[in-house]
Symmetry: C5
Subunit: 328 residues, 5 copies
């Protein structure tokens, strides 16, 4: 990950023969290092309004594109313009332990790729290394392949984020089964939100990659098609994983609701049965606790054992009645 103190802009020029990287604070500064014959990748570390419009003027970018780059609430999309393609994505952005999203905008021209990042620090360091070490196919391919590699890196991050939520869900599923507790509900709610955010990033990407796949812009060569299909498959699978997790989550909630409610019902039933057996007995005892002078049962020597018998039969009768009805 790039240090936050890195210069605002950087340029990587490369061709099959070599690759170099330079940083700078203005478009003029970095464009000196542009690769006249090969490919240049200009990266903006943060959405500095001045730098964005400077680049916009140099590369003749439509004012609406500039607006879209600067507005960080864009829905992921791909748009074709006369001499460039504009792609905007939501990338997962890690800062310490916290995970958020940042908007990545990509301008794809014939010999130049410009990327605009919302926040400093990105997921593209692996790509920079592959360019410098001439690993993979990037150096031997055009700007469209670089753009593919960038989108691929973003999609790979979605998988990591999905796996993280999947692990949490599995853990919760075990808790929900073993302990019958319900303390995991706030955790479920957190996962729900994380999945919801992922979904909002992934779903429109599907459409966006699909548009790149079916474009007839000359900026996307025919050979890129299997690679775009591959990304498309990954995005579709990520989207389906989100749906699976949501369904799994609903299942956990439903089973837990049912289990908790059954358990509570059983407890309440037992408790109520105990009360129900003792309340009539207490009444009988209460009757013979009355102080009427004229209560023949009280004087009889068999009164006390008899009343115990009555009480035992009452309790036993109720137990048998409850058992017959399968209440206990």
């Amino acid at each position: 990950m790039k240090a936050a103190s890195a210069p605002l802009m950087s340029i990587i020029g490369y061709d099959p023969a070599g690759a170099w990287e330079h940083g700078g604070e203005s478009a003029a500064e970095v464009l000196e290092y542009r690769n006249p014959a090969g490919i240049s990748w200009i990266n903006l570390n943060s959405l500095d309004g001045g730098a964005v419009s400077e680049l916009g003027k140099i590369f003749r970018i439509h004012p609406l594109t500039i607006e879209d780059i600067l507005d960080v609430n864009q829905r992921p999309k791909a748009e074709e313009f006369d001499d460039y393609l504009f792609i905007t994505l939501k990338a997962i952005h890690r800062e310490g332990d916290e995970t958020g999203y940042e908007q990545i905008s990509i301008i794809l021209k014939e010999d130049t790729v410009i990327t605009f990042q919302e926040k400093p620090g990105d997921n593209f360091d692996g790509i920079r290394k592959r360019i410098k070490n001439n690993a993979g196919y990037i150096r031997r391919n055009g700007t469209d392949y670089l753009a593919y590699t960038l989108i691929d890196a973003v999609v790979d991050e979605y998988y990591l984020a999905l796996d993280l939520q999947g692990d949490k869900l599995e853990e919760i599923e075990d808790r929900a089964e073993n302990e019958n507790d319900t303390d995991f509900i706030p955790d479920i709610q957190k996962i729900r939100r994380a999945l919801s955010a992922l979904r909002r990033s992934i779903w429109p990407l599907r459409e966006c990659v699909s548009r790149l796949l079916h474009t007839d812009s000359p900026l996307i060569r025919g050979e890129l098609s299997p690679f775009l299909k591959d990304i498309h498959d990954h995005v579709v699978q990520a989207a389906e994983t989100v749906e699976n997790y949501r369904e799994l989550m609903a299942g956990i909630m439903e089973v837990n609701l049912s289990t908790v409610s059954n358990r509570m019902n059983k407890i309440m039933k037992v408790l109520t049965i105990i009360s129900t057996i003792f309340i009539p007995l207490t009444f009988i005892a209460g009757v013979y606790g009355m102080n009427f002078r004229n209560m023949p049962e009280l004087v009889s020597p068999y009164g006390y054992p008899l009343i115990w018998t009555v009480m035992l039969f009452t309790a036993g009768g109720m137990l048998i009645f409850f058992k017959r009805r399968r209440w206990i």
Copy 2:
């Protein structure tokens, strides 16, 4: 916002060179100020039947369009006629603290835009200023760009309204988590209705903008396409935000339902356990409160401490039983 005491009609004439505005009470009065070479924007402050049909006759508007303008329960739509486009929208209308909707109908002709407002006071003052100050692109563009600007202003208001509901939802989410209270249900219901109303305004607009985007009417020039796409993206995003809020709301309701029911269950369980422990004890005490003459336990000097022991063991046994079953 325009004062309610403004004249019924107003006309703004403009071209790249200049702009003027005039008010009046009848079509004849304002049409004197029409811009013969440039563009004229005629605005009706309220749905005065006479004025609408007067304009209808002058600009040869189809009777069904007139009917649609006057019926304020129209679904947002765009319709092509021989020499004009008809667009009807639901705009958010503020009056003091209250927020409602008003129907805005737009007739787009080659050199004239006519807007019909349901209620006096609108969201177009910013546009009027931009025309007068020659800010932005309006003065240099045709009637289609003006129509775009008007629709854009309406869509921007949706975002404000959505943010308002979003803030309320966030606040309720905190309350739902912290206090376990359920007093927010009427508030939820209010948000539900506000979102429902927004959705009814936003969803058909999607279709409507999409129709403008794919029209082959000469009234919409090709250059407007990126602008209409931009509005389309905004409308789609607004529609998705509504869905997200609805989902979030359902999540809050579900979690709250689950939390409240769990909490209530725990309370009832503890209360019932207390009763269940004391009811058998009360029965035992009741037994030795009976007045039978022949109760040997009562005369024994160990009777009283013994009965306390029995009662303590009964209570203790029940507690152990409940604990073993994990009821407490």
Copy 3:
């Protein structure tokens, strides 16, 4: 509304110059009054099998169409045949206070419209008057415009029926909020059924009007297109209103369920807390109601006040405990 004692058949002949109406009991009888140059509208007051097949033979109607006219459980649809269009609809039929549905079938030929009503009495009297008084466009237009007017009259009735249900829902919504009662559930169920019936009539009509709109039958002239679009918009809006009402109804049910259950929970909690406080106190009183001879507390002069103190502290302690846990 036409009287039920009206003749079985009636014919209205009209052209821009004039209009006349005649009734009769057989096809032969009314067809004498057919308009040779202009347009004839034949109406059947009830589904008399003989009259229907008589008309079928005269106008060479396909046996399946005859079958569809006589079977009153048709789904609304539009079908093209060689020299006629067949449209069948569900119209709202009022008889005193009760509201039901009746099937209206329309045969649209070049110079004749035949309408078949399931039950005597219809919603077309307004149209008859407009023909006779030469109001509106009917007299100056063809059979397609008459058919449009008839369908429009049916759709207008849906709006009235929807408004009625909307008013009822609003009333129930107020009751649901103010009284926390649940007596409105049978009313909700009635509205649910009414909406369900409306939906079954409206949804297929959408498809049916859409088919008329996109037909290339010469029986529907191009100029009718804006009128059919207008009906289509109305049907779509009616369908959406049904969905809105259903959603609103679900919202009322959910909120009411939640409110009622919360209220019940609160009541039960308070009641249970009262019991829970008094049950242990009753136990203490029970203990000192026992008749053991050897109970030193009973003889002590401080016994009685002491036990009151114990009981007050027990009750107070429980109240504090409940308050700390925020149970009360």
Copy 4:
């Protein structure tokens, strides 16, 4: 309905001039009676593997079709082959009081229709009679019309089955409203399953008829089109009726759930209120049942009436408190 002891195979030969029927146990036996000029309808009474493959060889049927005919778990479908159409359906099969499904496969060739029944006894006796009596259009039409008549007979049976379930639902609806009982839940479950089975038979039939409607096989003549449309309409309507019944069922369940739960809540509330009023009173009585020697209230002559007063005020106070809070 055909007797189960009927011969395995039967052939009906017909043309506008006449019709004859013969039974037999092998293809060779019945094919002697084939109609060389007109149409032959061969029917197999049960899925005898030998007979099916014998017919398969004679009529050059694709091995996969033979497999599909013998596998009784086919999804209803229509398939075109070089010189025949293959249609497979689920027909309702009655045996005494029980209703089940049987698979009917139809091979439609230019001059022959072969039907394969899963179980002996079918719903086609009416058609046989119409052929023999020259009723309807069958004798004057081709094999496609015969196939249409067969499918139509199957669809008509669905309506009977739907009406049966509809009647049961109506009855349950009345019970659900009047008695507040819940004993109808097993009945609901039965209806649910019956509807589910019907749906599985009806839904794919829609697709299947639609395929026949849009086929360009010469085996289906253009004149059949209105008849196939008619079946299509019926199937769509049957499918919608299933959905309506399912919705109605869900409504009954929901209303019943709500009613039962409300009723139970009310009962429990009243019962709990009774307990809650008497428990404190019992405590007071308990206090003065204690045997402390030093209880001044007991000796006072006003003690007893006073304590009654206290108890009445306690009870009254609680009742007023409950009433004020609208609990009773």
Copy 5:
């Protein structure tokens, strides 16, 4: 099923004249036995990275395909490349009693089929036997028919797995009806997961077979079309069976929830009624257990029988009241 100790690779060469099988540990080793004139089927027993890339080089497979073969989390799909078709599936894999999934990838070339299995042991032994014994059509057909046979074997396994879950569901349905227990909820959850896994395997297969059906690659001959349609029908039916089971499961859950809750309600009601009747009686007994000196009722000789009468009337009155309100 093949033993796990089988060699890593195996090759089956066949043509109408004969068939042979050889095993080996490297591509070089098995490719010696390749059938130059006829068809070769190379099978990899596990996803050995080295062997896969060796085969990839020999058969010029696209690097993305190699990646997809090695990544066992692929979504079932079919992809066309220049000179091969790539199909990847999820097959059910049994190991002892446990059932899991394994990924099967198929490369279909003109004269060669290569299959890659995730785990040793497969469901293809029947196919191997049919090739060796020249049973069925395989030996007389091309590689496309072999691929069809392989996919068919995978789909057949789905049916077995579905039947297993169907049997379990039926058993649970009986338990849910007879015992009113809820112990089957973990079982339901297991079935839910098994169905969910099946669905994830079956749904994308639909699309995948549909793509094979509509491909215009010369690798799939026209004659295969009925066979692919057959698989398609099976996959669709399997998918519908999953949906039916899910619906059935939801129905069981709903009915069980309703039954359990009704039963619990009835029990609680009876128990509460018992308590409610005895609590006032206990109060009355408590009153006459008080020790006030001045209680005239106590001295009266009719006091005791009278109080019994009062208590019996109270209890009876309450019972009548409850009965009238239909609470018991």
